[in-house]
Amino acid sequence: MADTPLSWEEVARVHGRKIYNFAYRLCGNPDDAADLVQEVLLRVRRGLSSYQPGSFDGWLWRITHNAFIDEMRRRQRRPTAPLPESYDRWDAQSSPGADEQLAAMRLGEEIQEALLELPYEFREAVVMCDVVGLSYEEIAQAVAAPVGTVRSRIHRGRKMLRSSLAQEEVG
């Protein structure tokens, strides 16, 4: 990403979907995700005038991380709202049969529920890595933690998620 500041509308267009997916996977429901996106864009709008050239992605994800943490502190609760039925939408390029689609949606819900069971530091690191596609270095910058801490959070998060999904399979 170029270091040239974008307008907040451009930030919304270019990064909005990515931020929304991050927020949704962290919060587990569309309303909280939409609120978080709006809060992030508001902070971007306020902050662009004082933005110093550097890593724009790092700056943006730092804002997103802070907005999420502030919201968590404000609510003082772990978000556990269930997914609404049929909310997830598949890429238009894939066209599985009805049974396969239903099975995939159920699996998606199980994965989302398992994600919500993770401590938020682990969930955030895993989502930034595996959903958003950030590098360890970018995640470290966003969450203001050493890369070694990021490595550990991703690893432990995946182990917990795997354990949780394995229990679902047994159950």
């Binding site: 919304a12 929304y20 995946r158």
Partner: protein
């Protein structure tokens, strides 16, 4: 024998140094437990990455055009390909306590994740699985 633990996730993500990579692959040849852990970690990683990309609710932002995918240099993709090849091999031998044959490993890795020796890998970019 000490085990690799979080280095296995680093290995899967291609965020590993050549020295660490050598250490991981050497350890995996002889450690059944770490081969199984690698498969479990890859399973979790694949599950998360299989989640569908959601579209934003209409009106949440001014416009929601789809932009080109984020790009990453080829060495990251190559590292991931090597990791995938090792996982496949680990899966093949996970149920057996027999050590891996080093020659077979390197031959299969070369076949699955070869980089042309004449190429200029750092000038080539590949799309990642991330969102844009």
């Amino acid at each position: 024998m000490s085990h690799l633990d979080e280095l296995l996730s680093v290995y899967l993500d291609g965020e590993i140094t050549p020295w660490e990579s050598e250490r991981v692959e050497g350890h995996l040849r002889d450690c059944l437990r770490c081969r199984r852990t690698l498969i479990d970690l890859n399973s979790a990683r694949t599950a998360i990455r299989s989640l569908p990309t959601l579209e934003m609710p209409i009106g949440l932002v001014p416009d929601t055009q789809v932009r080109p995918a984020r790009r990453r240099t080829v060495w990251m993709g190559a590292a991931a390909a090597v990791a995938a090849a090792v996982i496949a091999l680990a899966a093949a031998v996970a149920s057996s306590p027999e050590p891996l044959n080093l020659n077979d490993v390197s031959r299969q890795l070369g076949a699955r994740a070869s980089l042309d020796s004449g190429a200029a890998p750092f000038k080539v970019v590949l799309p990642t699985g991330g969102l844009e």
